[in-house]
Amino acid sequence: MRPEEREQLLAAFALGTLSEPDGAVVRDLVRSDPAAADELAGYHEIVDMIALSAPLRRTDPTLRSRVLAAARKDRTRQTRRLDPRRWLPWVAAAAAITLLLAWGWNLQGTLDQVQRDNSVLTAVVEAEAKRLQSLFETETDVSSQALQLQVQSATSEIELALAVTTAPDVRSSILQSTAAGHGARGHFLWSEDTGAGWLTANDLPQLGLGLVYEVWLLDSRQTISGGTFLPDDAGRVESLVLPLTTLRPSRIVIAVSPQGGADNPGATRVLEGFVLR
């Protein structure tokens, strides 16, 4: 590739104006050539500054109130769903019912279920513990403020993940790989009461630069993003799924999106599943 052509591709990629398959060429290039990755990072720095050329505008004062009201409502909702006084009786009741069922009817089947539930809980705790450990081990250069932020965020996610996985209304879905998923596997837990889900996936294909996976929840009326994530080097992820609005999903889709998220699942879907009622 000529230097001029290489610069052209890297600049256009940073600007987000490259069509496929040229985008794939750049992703391959930066994967195989650290110098190209550095160059691309430099172009990204320039492109990020272009936003400052937009004329500054004042927001409507009522928007501030709306944003803060929505955040306050959201916090109340989270606090309510995390309040043990609210969900502990349900957990206890569910456990009692489970035991009764086990005793009287299908002991082996129920034990299998309990074992599965335990394995999910273990996965949740292990994933977050690994994340916390890696924060302390690898991010020694990060300021204490940033570290504190990430620890708080991880702690909050642990609480919410446990709330999801122990919710009495939790539903379990097996996610099937599409052709683009190349044999990826996934498992999704969803609790309407909690308003959140827990996703576990393995063998996800590695993504190119500038791309992320995005979780999509679909009901009969709408398709809502549940957030984006990047898997680890082994293609594995354990992640909370937090849609911004309330919905009763009937399907879940994991698709490839540009960094920052997309407005719909797009064509490159890797995992799909049904949230059974």
Binding site: E4, E7, Q8, A11, A12, A14, L15, G16, T17, L18, S19, Y43, E45, I46, V47, D48, M49, I50, A51, L52, S53, A54, P55, L56, R57, R58, T59, D60, L63, R64, V67, L68, A70, A71, R72, D74, R75, Q78, D141, V142, Q145, A146, Q148, L149, Q150, V151, Q152, S153, S156, E157, G227, T228, L242, L244, P258, Q259, G260, G261, D263, N264
Partner: protein, 188 residues
């Protein structure tokens, strides 16, 4: 940001007061619609509220990350609206700014951002108009090179060259600004 991770509403208020005008300005520039820009602004801050950990301070400066998220969401929103309404809008970057929004008058933030904005705007203004046009169509319009070529009725190769030359010139013009950021990062 630490307070945001702890779920402190005051932290969100602080970030909103500091950055909402920037977020809104980029959204208005992309969407050319005040209402849609407000929706995007609200969504950006609520996402930040719900997932403060989605920002990784090791990978980018907060402002750059926030602008990138805002731009992507705005472009997605515009594509969604265009698809839904089957509009065939022609992006005209020479058109005046949409009426309605008032100019920004927060002296503190204005002073803080003034130098960076002046440098970026000056660098953009100094670009030859055809190069500035393709960069703005790509960045604020979210158009691909192929779409820009069709819109401007220029050969694709010409569009590619203009983008490359334009970005290179910005790189040279803004090298001091990048250097300052590096120094600030190192000091911080």
């Amino acid at each position: 940001m630490v307070g945001l991770g702890a779920g402190e509403l005051e932290a969100l208020e602080g970030l909103y007061d500091r950055y909402s005008s920037l977020v809104f300005s980029v959204a208005v520039r992309v969407l050319n619609d005040r209402q849609l820009a407000e929706d995007v602004t609200q969504e950006v801050f609520l996402r930040l509220w719900r997932r403060p950990g989605s920002y990784d301070p090791e990978r980018s400066r907060f402002r750059s990350w926030l602008m990138s998220v805002t731009r992507n969401r705005s472009i997605d929103e515009r594509r969604r609206v265009v698809r839904r309404l089957r509009l065939e809008e022609r992006e005209d970057d020479a058109a005046p700014d949409p009426p309605g929004p008032e100019r920004f008058h927060d002296p503190q933030l204005e002073a803080e951002l003034a130098e960076d904005r002046r440098a970026v705007r000056e660098a953009m203004t100094r670009l030859p108009p055809p190069q500035r046009e393709v960069i703005e169509l790509a960045y604020f319009g979210g158009l691909t090179q192929v779409e820009i070529a069709a819109l401007t009725r220029e050969p694709l190769g010409t569009v590619k060259t203009r983008i490359r030359l334009g970005i290179q010139k910005l790189r040279v013009a803004l090298v001091d600004l990048r250097g300052e950021h590096d120094v600030k990062s190192a000091e911080g």
